[in-house]
């Protein structure tokens, strides 16, 4: 059965800390891995990764994919209270929908 597992399920940090969120997967016909940020509304797209070892970066966020070990990490440096959200990892298969993990709830305290 295809599955996406995220860890930790929840995390509490102080402003300025660096966090690493993990996503492992067992999926047939892997095509891409995506990260989304979800506050109390629609998931908003962060990154799409298709190749191993190539880091994608956007401001304080970065992500990398390891297709051999079947995982990805999402790093957030110098966290801010606005980073508090649920971070969703999803895997795309050719021609079908995304398979989501349960998400990691990040709380950043000031």
């Amino acid at each position: 059965e295809d599955k996406v597992v995220q860890s930790p399920l929840s995390l509490v940090v102080h402003e300025g800390d660096t966090v690493t969120l993990n996503c492992s997967y067992e999926v047939t016909n892997f095509r891409s891995l995506l990260w989304y940020k979800q506050e109390k509304k629609a998931p908003t797209f962060l990154f799409m990764l298709t190749s191993s070892g190539i880091e994608k970066k956007s401001g304080r966020l970065s992500s990398i994919l390891d297709k051999k070990e079947l995982f990805s990490i999402l790093n957030i440096t110098a966290t801010q209270t606005g980073d508090s959200a649920v971070y969703l990892c999803a895997v795309g298969q050719a021609g079908t929908a995304l398979i989501f993990g349960k998400g990691t709830t990040l709380s950043v305290s000031s």
């Binding site: 989304y36 629609a42 929908a97 989501f100």
Partner: protein, 115 residues
Amino acid sequence: GAGVSQSPRYKVAKRGQDVALRCDPISGHVSLFWYQQALGQGPEFLTYFQNEAQLDKSGLPSDRFFAERPEGSVSTLKIQRTQQEDSAVYLCASSLPSGSHNEQFFGPGTRLTVL
């Protein structure tokens, strides 16, 4: 340009009522997906359209759930005889075809509460 929009944003239904949820995808996006997100869970796939064709409905939990996209743009998810376990946020997403197929853009969702 405008993103994916959904209506209503909130819906309260009595058990046994029928509901209809609407999704307006991003203009030009041929792929449209419906997901169900229960509290504390990630979104779970319900059904997928490419233009007006429903190519995958394997995620629909029962025959009370029905989706359509008759003109290949707006889609409606209908739930008949709602049950309490149908309470969830229903998310719609759209994407371009082929190369960026998996980069899906989500609407704000409809939060359905069945009493």
